[in-house]
Point group: C2
Chain length 315, copies 2
């Protein structure tokens, strides 16, 4: 049995052969080019899978290959359809059947990419060996996925796991989803950058200006670096960011008590500068009912490969 994971993004398709130790043995990529039509994208996935099989001497692809696809948007993993994915230009598209048609591979599954990444971390990453885990990704938005007993849990209609769209501040900052005060509006990289820019504008003497010049841009690192250099405004930005991030994480812990909660996305690369104050705030707030151990907070391990490895484990 051979496992192939596919990460289908708006720009790029990656396909990887994952071995029995959950190591990526081989990988191929191609441009997505969604504008060429849905079936052409399916055919590209099929071509990558077939080339991976050929390169690696896999012969009985129909029976011996398990192919999993991680895709953005609204995925129905029961029917194998991408219900809606704007950046793939797909709507109610039966991608699993199509790729099956192009490859002859029998065992094909699909899952939302955030959920697949959570599964990847659960199978082979920061949450390996746990019965339940959550991955929270701090990127453009705040994404996430819940894995219970080796399976993604995303509700009866596969649209749960919208961790970023949990309001932590009624009538707070506006969110793209239409609500106000969503966790995402405070804890995404986008939110951190916006807050950093505001703080820079309010404090022309802040070290953040120098850091931004060194980095050539204002990104999620600026406030953290300035804070480490003793800058007051930078420290304020970091403190506020950590406070909101901890708030949402404690909410997730109080509700779900995953054995491990991993943090992914660029901001998780801050390491101790993020994790130490974050853990402190979490410890202060989490609801303990007298049973010893609570959720472990860890940095995710697999980076962009989490989705590929998770996809390979959908079956």
């Amino acid at each position: 049995m051979f496992r192939i994971g596919v990460d289908l993004g708006g720009t790029k398709i990656a396909a990887a052969l994952v071995d029995e130790n959950d190591i990526i043995k081989d990988r191929l990529t191609a441009a997505t080019l969604p504008e060429r039509g849905n079936d052409a994208v399916s055919a590209e996935i099929a071509s990558l899978a077939k080339r991976l099989c050929e390169k690696n001497g896999i012969k009985n692809t129909a029976e011996d290959v398990f192919l999993g696809i991680a895709a953005p948007g609204a995925i129905n993993s029961d029917t194998g359809c991408i219900e809606r994915a704007h950046n793939l230009m797909m709507e109610s598209y039966p991608i699993v059947d199509k790729v099956r048609g192009y490859t002859g591979i029998k065992h094909i599954a699909i899952e939302n990419d955030a959920n697949a990444a959570a599964l990847g971390e659960a199978v082979a990453g920061a949450a390996k060996g746990t019965a339940c885990s959550v991955l929270i990704t701090l990127g453009t938005g705040v994404g996430g996925g819940l894995v219970i007993d080796g399976k993604v849990f995303s509700g009866f209609n596969h649209t749960g796991g919208e961790f970023g769209h949990m309001v932590i501040q009624v009538n707070g900052r506006p969110c793209n989803c239409g609500r106000r005060g969503c966790w995402e509006a405070y804890s995404s990289a986008t939110a951190l950058v916006a807050r950093t820019k505001e703080a820079m504008a309010a404090d022309p003497g802040s070290e953040m200006h120098k850091v931004a010049q060194e980095l050539g841009k204002v990104n999620g690192k600026v406030a953290f670096i300035a804070s480490r250099r003793g800058d007051k405004s930078g420290t304020q930005v970091v403190d506020e960011y950590v406070t909101y991030l901890a708030c949402g994480l404690v909410n997730v812990i109080n509700l779900l008590q995953p054995e491990v909660l991993s943090l992914g996305g660029g901001i998780s690369n801050e390491g101790d500068g993020l994790m130490i104050p974050l853990q402190k705030k979490i410890d202060e707030e989490v609801f303990i009912r007298g049973i010893g151990r609570s959720t472990d907070i860890r940095i995710a391990k697999l980076g962009n490969d989490a989705g590929l490895i998770g996809a390979a484990h959908l079956i």
Copy 2:
């Protein structure tokens, strides 16, 4: 096979024989009197179970009876221990082993009472026939439980499901748990009563004063009744209450997308006066990703029997 559910509370122990149609066929109760010691409480549970079996002609109790216990506090359902329950005066107490010793019944399980109630609603109540459901109880606090595929999910350490301790307002109202802005501080019956009293104090002409006089007290119904009579301050209290309640419910839906989310506790008896504005706010805010159906919000069906019926289904 005969199912017995036990609801162990600080004041009262109820035990019920639940038939194959999930109907309570017979029930017995006794005072808990925790001050007489943990073993005496276990012996009382055993006595209720044995009497139920005798009354109903159940003979081979050791093998044929499944006994489930719903108890407050921190429960470890793996070990069968009540780790901490203040009002039972129990700490790290192996209640399952004790009751087994007193009764000879082999199959005994225990679960937190809020989780057991969620299981009861899933098995035989408002969420019957669903693969995943959540029960939220609006009482002294805001409690809840998540049921997936007929089993309670409460995290790796059995302390999840603390829905009430999800912050929806950073730096908001203080909560008993030590955090500020917990959902419970806005959406419990206790919070509603406190807010009603504040609004009454601020508006001496409000109809709420008359309603409270008629009811002989200020309870969770006062603002709802006054609002139905056209009282402005009462309507404001209800609107605000519904806004916060909807906020937390939408959070739960966005994260978990249960097929059914049932509302229990006294406030759920308000019926349409609560449910119609609540549903409207939920519809406005819930995150939809293009797949048709979202969570159904329903009023819980089983009332205080939910825990008993759920307990009977722990095995």
